[in-house]
């Protein structure tokens, strides 16, 4: 063993994950399902290799003589570098979980591997910047977090009570991308106007909204996300809201699936994604939609579909829009292809994730759609970029923007 390297720290993994590593049958179903491996054809990326390497690492470090007896050798610098590369080039799309005959919870396993790599200091350098920004500025852009409502500045009409209104029924958690990146300001702008027109009592946490911690968690730096979780939950509790809604599926997933575990207690309020809320408002007749006569398709965001199980709400919304011509892509719902924008993989290898996005936008094109709708600002950004780079005449829109557009007379 490298003298400097610490042993693999088993507390980066759960007991269940240790069992999952051994449960892998090496059937290879995940290899064909992996979008980044399909593009890169790099053996280090696919799930089988990551699992095999982790098994060897823990056995070499913790089984002593028995490991040597069975020919399991210590990891070399090259092994570790290759493992790091493969693990951080994964978009955490969890498609491998869907095809795994053993139902291994692969996504959490990859995150645990990243935690180990962070402990070994074997991670992309940019992650340090990301961690510093989020822990000091409380957002991923590094801007002053007091500017969380900067997107309201160019609105003709700003709904009342958006900034920390006490006693509001619903808190809108904008997310770092929606709040801080001008290219997607249209998402929060559309959303608050829709809800105002539907008569919802809505507010935001304003400058008290901190990053949900998702980017750190998936980077393998989840320890730094705990303070963010505690702060955000306290902020919502202070408002006294009974519901929290997000337009970002990653924020939604973190709030609904990770926060209760981090806090060790129920949140005390409901967490919904914007698509669930909008679908209900449409069903209740509180949103009136007009013609949107365009051929469209829908891209399931990984964090909304596979990891959170929301597939039908966005489709209910699309099908409720008069005149819309909706066609599914070849890969949809559980088997939806990743857009390439997830898992912080873009920071590790932008060319690779662009290739993943290209494949997805081509699938959208094959449906004859003029608009590819998603329910995630990151997916919209990635798909829009892929269409632009590959000169494909298709527009990427967030479902919130489609609804707002369809609400106009």
């Amino acid at each position: 063993m490298n003298e400097q390297r610490k042993k693999l720290n088993l507390s980066n993994f759960t007991l269940r994950q240790m069992m999952e590593l051994e449960a892998c049958t090496r059937c290879g179903e995940c290899i064909e399902a992996c979008p980044t491996f399909t593009e890169a054809q790099n053996e280090e990326i696919h799930p089988l290799q990551k699992i095999e390497r982790t098994k060897r690492f823990w056995k070499a470090d913790h089984l002593g003589l028995l490991a040597r007896l069975f020919g399991i050798r210590q990891a070399t610098e090259q092994d570790l570098a290759a493992f790091s590369q493969g693990t951080f080039q994964c978009t955490l799309c969890a498609r491998c979980h869907e095809v795994c005959p053993v139902r291994i919870d692969t996504r959490h396993l990859w995150i645990s591997m990243r935690e180990q790599l962070v402990e070994w200091d074997l991670y992309p350098e940019f992650f340090d910047t990301l961690r510093d920004r989020v822990t000091s500025q409380h957002n991923i852009s590094g801007d002053d977090n007091a500017n969380r409502l900067v997107w309201t500045q160019n609105m003709e009409h700003v709904p009342a009570g958006l900034d920390r209104k006490k006693g509001a029924e619903t808190v809108y958690f904008m997310g770092c991308v929606g709040a801080m990146y001008p290219r997607v300001y249209g998402v929060p702008q559309s959303f608050v106007q829709i809800l105002e027109r539907a008569g919802e009592d809505l507010t935001t946490l304003g400058g008290d909204e901190w990053c949900c911690g998702f980017p750190l968690q998936i980077a393998g730096m989840g320890r730094h996300a705990r303070a963010l979780a505690r702060h955000n939950v306290e902020a919502v509790r202070a408002i006294g809201a009974r519901r929290l809604v997000t337009t970002c599926p990653s924020c939604y997933h973190t709030w609904s699936h990770e926060y209760p575990g981090i806090l060790g207690e129920p949140l005390g309020f409901e967490v919904v994604h914007a698509t669930e809320l909008l679908a209900d408002l449409i069903d209740e007749g509180r949103i009136k939609l007009h013609d949107f006569p365009q051929p469209v398709t829908y891209h399931d965001p990984c964090d909304l579909g596979r990891t959170s199980g929301i597939y039908e709400a966005p489709r209910r919304i699309i099908e409720a829009v008069p005149g819309i011509q909706f066609a599914e892509m070849a890969d949809n719902r559980e088997m939806s292809l990743c857009c390439g924008g997830g898992g912080d993989a873009e920071m590790a290898d932008p060319e690779l994730t662009a290739a993943v996005g290209k494949r997805r936008i081509e699938q959208a094109q094959e449906t004859g759609a003029q608009v590819v709708i998603s329910a995630c600002q990151q997916c919209v950004r990635t798909l829009g970029e892929a269409a632009r780079k590959n000169r494909i005449r298709i527009r990427a829109m967030d479902i919130v923007q489609v609804v707002w557009q369809a609400m106009q007379e």
């Binding site: 088993l10 049958t25 090496r26 059937c27 053993v102 139902r103 609904s256």
Partner: protein
Amino acid sequence: MEHDQRLAIFWVVHLAMLGLFGLELLFILSVWLKARVPGLPEDASRWRKLGATLRTMFGIIFSRRIWWLLKALVVDGMVHRRLYRVDLRRWAVHIAVFGSWLALGILSTVTGVVVEFLPLLGMSPESVAAIPLLGQLFYPDAWWVALLNDLLGLVVLAGMLMVIYRRRIQKDPQLRTIPADTIVIGLLTVIAVSGFFAESFRLLADYTTAAGVFTPAPTMISPEKLPPVLYGVWGPQWGFAGYLLAWLLGALGLNPGVWETIYNGFFWLHFVIVTALLFYLPFSRFFHVIMSPVIVAYNTMLDAPAGGRHP
């Protein structure tokens, strides 16, 4: 080597290996318990983690979720429903290997109880053999026992050949073969093949006359080994593969003493390989035969409506 002496050594080594296998599992579990257990601090002691894990386990056993778990264990852990939906051919290969090994393992265990343990309880061979159906396991040449053993053995062998074909000849693009795979596949194939040879050498040792002629008859076996009550179901020819092999080898005209020696050799070869596999299993990629049914059942249960993975 005398039959009784051989069996005595067999059981001593077999039980010792089972004990060692159990110790290996405990050792691995003790290492795994260095991992996190949700709900406990990272630095919690291994005993505390074990306690929490057992509480979770018993919590499932004594709840309605046990039905989801059992259903998933059978449907996904044993029948491999998901693989069936994806690819019928791959499912057939996997079931051929896994299902047949499982069935052979169960048959061998029940046979061991009938042949070795019931006499220890004071039952005579005749009275054990007289137990309806179960007693017919007292001697492997009961027609249906011979047929079942050969059929299952052939299915295993066919499955193993398909596995080798997919990995070595067809080179299926979704497979990655590493030395750990090759070792386990090699061991399993040798066990399957040596099983047929061991069976045919036993037939030759039992049913070859002093003149070196292979002419099976029940009366050639001592009543302690084949009680007359089993004559009605005696039918070694139903074990068609081993019987055919014995018939072909019988043409060599060797005397029964030679066949007995060869049989002893093959019996021990077969046994040593099985024992080696058992010893190697917890550290090999073959460990999935134990872990994957556990994990697929648990994870499927969590995904089920009653599982409630998410608060």
